[in-house]
């Protein structure tokens, strides 16, 4: 719930190109990335984006391949919107919002084809590596989509395969590096009072009419998109956001490379 006075001040500010936290409508919060925060994970990163804080962790497990892709492993992405992160988050099975975050983050990474799933094959048709991408939201102040992609792309760098011998994983001995062919990034926009702001805070997300997440590859090709919220976008607004997304994803990519 947001008080009427906060709502009014946000709407008034945004109509003159300003925001409650002092940013302009096209300013992305400068993320802070801390890698290797969980030594028991194959890869991990904590991302602080303003007051949003998430930990992205990667654990590998051995699975069986899909019958139609016998020599490919896979990724499985989950987002845990912990009740510690926000008073409106509740314990229990994943909410539609949590499912949406995890599926959109998954789509940006998967569809960019930065991960060649063939490198995750152990024995064709029998055993593959499954990369479990889990993000835990510790503090929620908006834009979990971009924070999630940033966290996982940071955590994926430097992941090494554990040894696998006689049907057993030897976690202490690592072998080859996981290969990434690119660094996809996402930029999320929110429409408030007919202005489009990048990297919305939680309050802005509560008040927004509509939201668009755009996933871009290194060459600026689009790899994923997701519209949310009960409002709408006009065709010209898509053009505006696509253009602005290039700059923001480039900025984020630069922090990880």
């Amino acid at each position: 719930m947001i008080s009427g006075i906060t709502k009014k001040s946000i709407m008034d500010l945004v109509s003159s190109g300003q925001r409650l936290d002092g940013r302009g409508i096209d300013d992305f919060r400068k993320p802070k990335i801390t890698r290797g925060v969980v030594k028991n994970a194959s890869g991990s990163a904590m991302v602080e984006l303003g007051k949003t804080r998430i930990i992205a962790g990667i654990k590998m497990s051995v699975g069986t391949p899909y019958p139609d892709k016998p020599n490919e492993g896979s990724i499985a992405t989950m987002a845990e919107l912990s009740p510690m992160a926000h008073p409106e988050f509740e314990a229990g099975p994943p909410s539609p919002a949590a499912i949406e975050v995890s599926r959109v983050v998954d789509r940006v990474i998967r569809e960019s084809e930065t991960l060649d799933f063939k490198q995750l094959c152990i024995t064709p048709g029998e055993k593959i590596w499954l990369l479990n991408l889990d993000m835990y939201v510790l503090d929620m102040d908006g834009n979990l989509f971009d924070a999630g992609v940033l966290g996982f792309m940071s955590a994926l760098q430097g992941v090494k395969f554990p040894k696998y011998e006689d049907e057993k994983v030897i976690w202490d001995e690592t072998g080859d590096d996981l290969t990434l062919s690119g660094t996809p990034m996402a930029a999320t926009f929110a429409k408030l009072n007919n202005k489009i702001v990048v990297d919305p805070t939680r309050t802005e997300e509560d008040l927004m009419d509509a939201r668009l997440t755009i996933g871009l590859k290194d060459n600026d090709d689009i790899c994923a998109m997701q519209k949310g919220g009960e409002g709408f976008f006009k065709p010209s607004e898509f053009d505006d956001m696509l253009e602005r997304a290039k700059k923001h994803t480039n900025f984020l990519r630069g922090l990880v490379k």
């Binding site: 599926r103 084809e113 998109m225 519209k227 409002g231 709408f232 976008f233 006009k234 898509f238």
Partner: protein, 246 residues
């Protein structure tokens, strides 16, 4: 699923004979069910969808009530027998929960929700036979069902997919943007975009994309769907007229 075809489009002709701008054969019937306040049956090629609307009615659970507007809840579901190959485990999965969420949001923006505070408008979409583009066909049907239920709306909602498919043009490899993805195109195509659109107000209320598209290809797709969107809109109106004119 079969093997990956060598080409999905050859000299502008798709595997099923369509051109890039062609929809599959469409059939829309308004008022398909007896009990629902509004309903619709829709066929797009071999994708078959039933949509039903109940409401405005009391909200259950009560705490979900919105005091300034109606709560629009959409439930998208695929029948256990709807898919090719294996039986689908019935009930909601992560995919259908996500689709239900974005579809609820899309339908909320087209309904004058402020006219019915403290009520629920429940929309049920059942995919009877799945041959790709099911979420958009579900939304097109849901829009007819809402109109059939007499719920005031800003515009109709037409939803359709476009994507990028590979093939050859004059013997050279080519990548082509095309509307209304069918199953092979959905499985093997290079990109897939689901859109829901208000045809008179030109507002987009659903946009989901995966695959690989340049910015220009995305813009081309937005342009390309305009004509088939009008065609869908016309069929929606005809279906509603048919029911109410007798």
């Amino acid at each position: 699923m079969g093997d990956k075809p060598e080409t999905l489009i050859t000299d502008g002709v798709r595997l099923d004979g369509r051109k890039p701008k062609d929809m599959r054969a469409l059939k829309i019937v308004a008022g398909f069910l007896e009990n629902a306040d509004g309903s619709c049956y829709l066929e797009c090629g071999s994708t078959k969808v039933v949509a039903a609307v109940y409401g405005p009615r009391q909200v259950h659970p009560r705490h979900a009530t919105l005091f300034d507007r109606a709560l629009v809840r959409c439930k998208y579901d695929m029948a256990a027998f709807s898919t090719d190959g294996n039986r689908k485990r019935p009930g909601p999965d992560r995919r259908s929960r996500e689709i239900s969420k974005v579809s609820s949001e899309a339908l909320s923006s087209v309904v004058f929700t402020e006219a019915y505070p403290r009520t629920a408008i429940d929309v049920f979409i059942e995919i009877i036979q799945a041959d790709a583009s099911t979420r958009v066909n579900g939304l097109t049907a849901a829009s007819v069902a809402l109109a059939d239920a007499g719920i005031p709306m800003r515009d109709m909602l037409v939803a359709l997919s476009f994507g990028k498919i590979y093939g050859t043009q004059d013997g050279k490899p080519a990548e082509v943007v095309a509307v209304d993805m069918d199953k092979p195109e959905d499985n093997w195509g290079l990109a897939d975009v689901a859109l829901a659109y208000m045809p008179n107000l030109e507002r987009f209320v659903l946009c989901q994309m995966d695959g690989r598209l340049t910015h220009d290809e995305f813009r081309d797709g937005l342009e390309m769907i305009k004509k088939p969107a009008q065609e869908l809109y016309k069929l929606q109106k005809e279906a509603l007229r048919k029911k109410y004119k007798g």
